[in-house]
């Protein structure tokens, strides 16, 4: 019950911001960055390995969103579901970056891009939640990792996760389910490994 009230309120504010952006983009955009900064940055941070790359990714996602809203008709902006839209932009940018990185000759091993950091290695990370969970999450296969991040770190609905992944809702659900199971297994292993 509480959850659905929160979602109605969120949708109300989201619709307000979209409508405001349709009328005066430059006026509304700072409020959009304030409101969705956490969600976009969290997505980027959990997808990317390094905090500095995450900030760049998140900032670029907002820049693309701004350019898109500038270019498209006002009615389309007013109808935007801002939160899933911004996250989809972030996800697509992240995928493009990975693809570009894999095409360029690498000076550092490509494995460094996808390898999880040693838990607790980055001081900034220690403030960011259970390091073993972060590590286990970063080791999931991509589809499951993205699905779990969008569904549970960021809090999108399953239908929104499916949109972002361009897959049917059932597939999105199963990615989340398998991702959670894999995380559990990894944490059991980690716990038993240290005991």
């Amino acid at each position: 019950m509480f959850t659905s009230i929160v979602m109605v309120v969120a949708t109300g504010r989201e619709a307000e911001l979209a409508a405001a952006a349709a009328i005066d983009l430059d006026g509304a955009f700072p409020a959009i960055v304030e409101r969705y900064g956490r969600v976009v940055y969290s997505t980027a941070r959990r997808l990317s390995v390094q905090a500095v790359d995450a900030e760049d990714l998140a900032a670029e996602a907002f820049a693309r969103a701004y350019a898109a809203m500038r270019a498209q008709p006002a009615e389309r902006t007013a109808a935007l579901r801002l939160r899933p839209w911004l996250i989809t932009i972030t996800l697509n940018l992240w995928r493009n970056q990975l693809r570009d990185a894999s095409r360029r000759p690498v000076t550092a091993p490509l494995a460094a891009v996808n390898d999880p950091p040693a838990p607790g290695a980055d001081p900034a990370e220690r403030r960011e939640g259970d390091p073993r969970l972060v590590c286990a999450l970063s080791q999931l296969p991509e589809a499951q990792r993205v699905a779990v991040i969008l569904r549970h770190v960021v809090g999108l609905r399953t239908s929104e996760v499916a949109d972002a992944l361009s897959c049917p809702a059932g597939t999105a659900k199963s990615h989340v389910f398998r991702g959670l199971a894999a995380l559990r297994a990894a944490l059991v292993e980690a716990r038993e490994g240290t005991s």
Partner: protein, 269 residues
């Protein structure tokens, strides 16, 4: 506490939710800067310049970027892209031009405008500030600029710095020419440089002819002052009183003194 600990679904999803993280401080401002909405954002206007329309970008510190419409086309997107490519920040249209711009374009006197030359080296700023000293309708050689800023051997570097001028037309790098009478380089193309000089009343043919004849300076046999040929003082010398010199050594040996306006330097030939 659930006996499965962190593995229970509710605890797991709560732990995942706790992995959400606030962006670093200043994130919003950096995003706004990136799209040109930050507090110190660049804005731009399109104005009529001496040889065609100009895009002029400026911020609270001053004018930072000038491009001729011919180079980027009439669509503002072209200028905005070029601005972002050069400065790494956005810009958007302004309602009014910066103070003094219209008057400067009409009079050709742009010395008094505020400029934002941040991002340039100290040397580059010195070169451009010296170019600002050159009055409309007059020219100076690259070597003159180098000598005036205390770097007499840095003539090529002066040329490069002028080539990187982010605010051409207003900072008149077009008034810096070669000593041999050839017009020299220009970031926006030598044809535009020639048109700008002609629009200011420089007689390019006569100037080139003098240079080819080896007449680096003109003097007046009434005042015994010697000048660069385009100096306003030199232009007032009547043909009957005009004397030509190959260099400052020759002029000074003949008892002439350097003009205070154009300051021909004691260097070179």
């Amino acid at each position: 506490m659930n006996p499965s600990g962190p593995l229970a679904r509710r605890d797991m999803t709560a732990a995942l939710r706790a992995l959400g993280v606030e962006p670093p401080s200043g994130f919003t401002e950096r995003v706004l800067d990136r799209v040109g909405l930050g507090a110190t954002a660049d804005r731009y206007v399109m104005v009529d310049g001496p040889v065609g329309p100009l895009y002029v970008a400026f911020n609270a510190r001053g004018i930072c970027h000038v491009v001729t419409a011919g180079v980027v086309g009439d669509e503002p997107g072209g200028f905005e892209e070029r601005h972002r490519a050069r400065f790494g920040r956005g810009t958007r249209p302004a309602g009014t031009p910066p103070t003094g711009l219209d008057a400067a374009l009409r009079s050709g006197r742009s010395h008094q405008l505020a400029y934002d030359l941040g991002g340039l080296t100290g040397f580059e700023r010195a070169v451009l500030r010296k170019a600002l000293d050159i009055p409309a309708g007059e020219c100076r050689p690259y070597a003159w600029v180098a000598h005036q800023i205390g770097r007499p051997r840095a003539v090529r570097a002066v040329g490069s710095a002028l080539g990187r001028n982010p605010v051409p037309v207003l900072i008149p790098c077009h008034r810096v020419v070669r000593s041999d009478g050839r017009i020299g380089e220009y970031a926006l193309g030598p044809e535009l440089k020639a048109r700008l000089l002609e629009a200011e009343g420089v007689d390019l043919e006569a100037t080139a002819a003098l240079a080819r004849a080896g007449a680096r300076y003109l003097g007046s046999d009434t005042t015994h002052v010697y000048c660069f040929p385009t100096c306003r003082t030199a232009r007032r010398i009547g043909p009957a009183h005009q004397v030509r010199f190959r260099g400052s050594a020759e002029a000074e040996a003949a008892g002439y003194r350097p003009c205070r306006n154009c300051q021909p330097a004691k260097w070179g030939a």
